[in-house]
Symmetry: C3
Subunit: 639 residues, 3 copies
């Protein structure tokens, strides 16, 4: 497969005379794809049922005939103002009970059936009009589900939907009372319609109640997306996709992805570093204008799993953005670096957001490939250079990695419902795992906790997986030579109860969690021989051998039968020891990487990606600052 | 009196077959008391008037016949879901105007008369059924009043209750306007029903308004409790008690306690350290798994006063809890240490919370004496050892201390209404006083600001007491050889006005506060000869001799006629100097205690309690880490 | 002009017998002015239309005949409780949708026409009664507009007013959609009544929407004030004034000031240091009991511009206040220092707040010249000494400075709508500019961005001015020899769009902003030769010569034709370099001032003001700690 480049474009923002010039300049820049339409509902249908497709017809025609493949977005993330007059109760409600008003975007509640009907209506009209248009080569459904905390809504439609969902899940309210342990604090219900949403309670609500609501809320996103898929499938053969946002975990991307053909995501490395990453000040300063060296790769690998191999970057940051606490510019070379890194992880397309910076409205401070007054922004030349690099690189094939991380969105919801330690956070734990593997130069796959058996791995890690069962144990033991679980793995049932049969509950590993502790950030539990646990400690018993022990002689790592259980949230030193021990056991070659240099293997190449501001000499190769070195496996020269 | 142990148990959480085994195992562990029933309303009355006492009859029978004394709780802290259908306006409202919904506990407003009637109804039914049952040896009313900020409610019933209360207090609205100084900012009212609750005002409300509302809110708790007391008194001879929570100051415990026979409190040393104590990071780290060395003793001594000598620990932390920001496990020995320390301060009973960790609902991460799957948790053996220690110790008698602190809940409300410096806080000031006395090895009593004269003290300290009058001056001068007042003592009238007659307003001490200052945490006012004031400084004039002066020559401590006035919030060094000066004056022997070692005297013993992780050698005795050394006065061996 | 002193007094707070004594004592203290009445509505009109002016007649008589000139306040900042029964919807609503209730002050929405009618009614009655009374020498309208965040209200009257205002501004909703770029995210409106207030949106609202609402909100204050002016003008010849609060930027003071005769402001140096100033801990500690050395002067100079030369300090802090996070006392000498400094900057009157500390209500902890029990507070003697100083000083004349700062309230609203970096803030940038000029010993004028051409300056600085146009460029180039713009100057149109013609858009300067960056506080962009930019960087292109460059060779300062553009938010070192370069270019003598010593020039004098706690020797003069040295230009002795 030969990776391609693309761009996001808003013909409705510019005078029609500019379209042809823009299209030609896109092609000149080496772009192959253009995404349009996803926020244009008010131009398509300015008043109810008054449809204006002429401009969109012409835009597709102009772009397509210039040689660009069009991704057409359904406009459902931005219902026009008149929609609220038809459906006054369609707005979401936040956890404080506040209506989330019109005036920006994503102003809808996923549970509002009237709005879903409006969405399928407009999508059907668009599908009928453009579904067989050969210039429309893919469809994007909606935009960035869950962005701006929009997955969870405390509206009346959500309440009624939740009650129906519970009735469906539990059959009887007695079964629900039993499953949730509602005898505690006399919280028992006599009917489903007595069950409220779990916000604004006097003290914390039952975590089982919270987790059920989070599962429901995720399912509503899945159903919302599927409603549009079901309309479009008969009307087009083009692939259907969605553009996910980074570090959004509020709905199960694997479930949404199962209904789509391609997963795409929106990659804003510098915004994420400033806004969505726990890291110390020195790290944030060192990578201020490059982004964290593992954050993009993590998402690339995760979305490759969500897309079952097919994935894109739909929005690639091209310059300063508008939405982070601080918005510095990328260093020269970084836009190309990010693009090539995505390709190394298997992106079919890298699409820049956006063609020309808008001079108006919320994102006017968000850079594009062109400035508002149509001058080249720094990223334009880097995009052109990347296109040249890709042409030179040719085909590129992904292979299964030796190592995988089992990822589970529901575990994030569970731990958020009852973190037990204020810093404990599923993403943070998994990301620390991923970082450790990358420091060892490994390529990593993600696998879904709820998917089919995936075998052939030397090593699978399943940190923090809330719920384990026999099936999952089977998938782990069949899927790899060694599975590392813990900490806090298998700690609760699906209904948020501690399993009476014991935690983590593996038949092949004689190891039980007797009590758990959360620790403040200034406290560590040292491990004999080096490294420490932080934030979280599981106290273990059982006859499985101790592979590592804490300085107080309690077990830090126990293992037997290809199953290891790790008793704490490791710091970097402990992670490095554990990865080394595991590698030795399963015969996995490691490559110790310096800070900021990362390595990714494809069938044909090794990519060496240097996120630092200085050249790095590694294994005989000199990788320039903010640059990528690509080594072909068949010959030892650099591309 | 021989101290005893107990445990909190929830028969409704477990299958009935387990009850007898549990009871036998409790007795084996050396426990004498078992508390049940306080959250069981939904099982006692699943739907209105449909009473199910059979299971509770059997539970009492099984536990009682096993040899345990039962404490039966009234279930009014957790009204069932159907209660809201009968009384839709019974929920409390927070300061932001948000309804505090069903789904956890304490979801009621103390001012709702309909709910109070429901409470007295169910309590009467229970009293009639169990009041003469010899197996029921005590009654607990409700649970942890004020926990989760539930004392103060901004509901409509609270508004109407407050207006009635004001009419009752002031007689006429003109009197109220005058007392509050409502001429200021044209805040005058024409009738009581114009007076709103003091929340959501444009800028701060009149502090007199706030203080009145806080007094009212406290009175509502007193009345709520008394309504149940009035029902139970004729129906039982068993003692009535309530379990207060730590560092809850929102209602006047002395007034609630006056209607009860025994004060009990819920002691969570590690949770309190993490969640409810101002201390620097080093201190919190040093005592992370032990709790603060003075926090438990402070409450023991305070609740001994609230219970007029009779008090228990109703809930003793046995392992990690679920509700603090961080929840580490107690170090080995600490559960026993806490238990013995309580006994040293006069606890009649120390009762562990809870027997077996629940696998479900909000507190599933809260350890018990047993794990959820019925294995012994670490605390079980420590409870057993404590029972043996108590058997060996025999009778133990409390004596009046030489030193007392005057404690006044209303002062906390007053200073919270207008702290003047963001760190100024009544509890913090009083706790710093208590710590200073404990560093000097003193045993301390608390006395109520509103109680009867208590005499025979060498020294009484009355820091931060908002309001002083002639009666209180009389009680101080008659009660002790030396009274130390200040800072911020006698600063306002009961209606939150600065007394025109001057502050602090003592006839025996020629000393007046001319102005006050609050200071940021990085600023100190040094005292000549050592130590400093922080947070707060009263600038003093008057002819009473200066006993200490600040470096700018203004008085730091003035005194005459057995009355001293302290001009600032002392740091540790200044407190130590003042305690030493006072001790010399009233001939009080001091015992300088190292950090983390504390000393408590009873009639028969000295207890030396070591909260640190290393053995301490003190006065010829070696006290092991996390251990207690008990010295009998009649012979010099250790128990 | 000979500066005078005054005081704020509340006859309604004290028994009538005290008035004459108070008045005599004011005169004895050297005070000439007394402000009364501004919070007395409930005493003037206790119930609707029941007017009680007798007491106010007597108060004016007693004060006036004692020799004091009365400033009479309109009482509209504190509507009585009955007003809410007449106008239940008059309360403001905060951004969270919460009603801002009765119980303090400023409880009205500026858009409520019914309340405005009540205000003009009571003001007409007062004007008719006292407008020709010779004892009433000035009128204050309302009190501290905007204090407690009261400019912006999200009420229904505000919504309706905003929709009318928009219709008036834009004519058609299509024009508004175009001006705001509402095509973005399908935010287009079909009618003005579809436009909501810009709060509680799902993510940030359109900044054009926010800025329009901020402009509207400011205009409502202007209209509210003008309604009272229009009533009073025909009824009195006394000057009309308002007392602004420090660092309130929510409405355009220049526009309010245009309708009044004198600008006055309320100066609380120690409260501002604690509560309203970004500064490091060391600076706040060094000036804890003195206030920031530039904060008062900044406001003096700004309000001199607002008052078109005529201005007062209406409320001068005399001791600890009640409202800051920490409230220490001023050091001895500071009250006199603040008073003399105000005079140096041109204050006609310095009036202390307040005569006697109230013993009741919200401000009972706010010091006065007297204590609540009528003893002299420390400030009384300093006021007396200041009166003597002023008598000795004689007449004092202000002259136009060589340097001016262009100040624009709307720029603050614009940057607050989209700061792009969390620390970026218009006031902070302008204040850093002002500080730099003061470190160089310069006297500074402020000029309004919207006023008439003011010429004769050597240097004008226009940092952060949101919107530039040809007219403003003309005023700058005609007004001075050198104008320094940037950073972030001319960045948006009046409708919050990036100008397609380029930023900053000056015809005389070939310099364009290509992209902007915001930086976290720990990152700086160093400038060749010393100094650095922080917080904000504009990346510049264009043919104007580079006067300074960053270490990455990009321009830091470009200039030609008497116009310089500065590319970042300078640190102190960079500011000092730029000021020195500019001074050399326009032949401006500088005087390097040590930390805490400041210099102000009048026609007759140099004032040297020492805010530090140690004497300073400067240019041959020794200025004592917390003292002012006044040098006459005609002879070189000190007053």
């Amino acid at each position: 497969m030969n990776p391609e480049l693309g761009v996001c474009y808003y013909p409705e923002h510019w005078s029609e005379e500019m379209w042809a010039t823009d299209a030609a300049r896109m092609v000149e820049t080496g772009l192959s794809w253009v995404r349009i339409g996803e926020f244009a509902w008010s131009r398509i249908e300015p008043t109810p049922d008054d449809l204006h497709f002429d401009w969109l017809d012409r835009a597709i025609e102009v772009l397509g005939t210039a040689g660009l493949k069009v991704v057409l977005g359904t406009p459902t993330a931005t219902p026009p103002r008149w929609m609220l007059e038809k459906h006054p109760d369609m707005l979401a409600v936040d956890a404080q009970g506040q209506l989330r008003k019109f005036g920006s975007r994503r102003h809808y509640c996923f549970s509002h059936q009237g709005y879903i009907a409006e969405c399928t209506r407009i999508v059907r009209i668009m599908g009928e009009r453009y579904g067989r248009n050969p210039l429309v080569a893919a469809w994007q459904i909606d935009n960035e589900y869950g962005c701006h905390d929009t997955t969870v809504s405390y509206s009346q439609p959500a309440l009624r939907g939740f009650q129906r969902w519970l009735a469906n899940q539990y059959g009887s309210v007695d079964a629900l009372n039993e499953a949730w342990g509602n005898v505690f604090w006399s919280m028992e219900y006599a009917s489903f319609d007595q069950i409220d949403l779990p916000n604004l309670t006097v003290t914390e609500p039952n975590p089982a109640h919270v987790l059920a609501f989070r599962r429901f809320s995720s399912d509503q996103v899945v159903a919302f997306n599927k409603a549009q898929v079901d309309v479009l499938r008969p009307l087009t053969n083009a692939p259907l996709l969605h553009n996910y946002m980074g570090r959004i975990l509020d709905f199960d991307h694997f479930k949404v992805g199962a209904d789509l053909d391609i997963a795409t995501w929106d990659s804003y490395p510098i915004g994420f570093l400033s806004d969505r990453l726990e890291a110390d000040e020195a790290h944030k300063k060192a990578f201020l204008q490059q982004g964290d060296p593992d954050m993009q790769a993590f998402h690339h690998d995760l979305y490759r799993a969500v897309g079952r191999g097919r994935w894109w970057v739909m929005e690639q940051q091209p310059g300063p953005v508008n939405w982070a606490p601080y918005n510095p510019a990328p260093l020269p070379g970084m836009v190309r670096l990010w693009s090539l890194e995505a390709v190394a992880h298997g992106a079919e397309v890298v699409s820049y957001f956006r063609w020309r910076q808008a001079p108006f409205a919320q994102e006017q401070m968000h850079a594009g490939l062109l400035t508002p007054n149509n001058k080249p922004a720094p990223a334009l030349a880097e995009a052109r250079q990347t296109a040249d690099d890709l042409a030179k690189l040719g085909a590129l094939t992904q292979t299964q990695a030796d190592v995988a991380i089992l990822f589970d969105y529901a575990s994030d919801w569970a731990w958020a419902a009852q973190p037990q330690g204020v810093e404990f956070n599923y993403f943070r734990l998994v990301f620390s795992t991923y970082r450790a593997l990358r420091r060892a130069g490994l390529s990593v796959d993600f696998i879904s906790a709820t998917g089919a058996l995936q075998s052939g791995y030397k090593l699978i890690l399943a940190p923090g997986l809330a719920t384990l069962d026999g099936d999952l144990e089977h998938r782990l033991t069949e899927g790899c030579d060694l599975a590392i679980l813990g900490p806090r793995t298998g700690a609760i049932t699906r209904d948020f109860q501690i399993p009476i049969s014991g935690r983590p509950g593996l038949s092949g590993l004689d190891c039980e969690v007797d009590l758990v502790e959360s620790l403040p950030p200034n406290v560590q539990r040292k491990v004999e021989g080096g490294g420490a646990a932080q934030h979280w400690v599981d106290r273990l018993s059982g006859d499985a051998p101790d592979l590592l022990t804490f300085c107080d002689r309690t077990p830090a790592l126990k293992g037997e039968n290809g199953l290891w259980y790790l008793a704490g949230f490791p710091d970097e030193a402990l992670w490095d020891r554990i990865v080394a021990m595991a590698a030795q056991k399963v015969d996995l070659p490691l490559h110790s990487m310096p800070d900021g240099l990362r390595r990714r293997e494809t069938e044909q190449h090794f990519f060496l990606v240097n996120y630092t501001t200085a050249p790095v000499l590694w294994d005989g190769h000199k990788i320039a600052a903010c640059d990528v070195t690509i080594l072909r496996k068949d010959r030892h020269d650099q591309s």
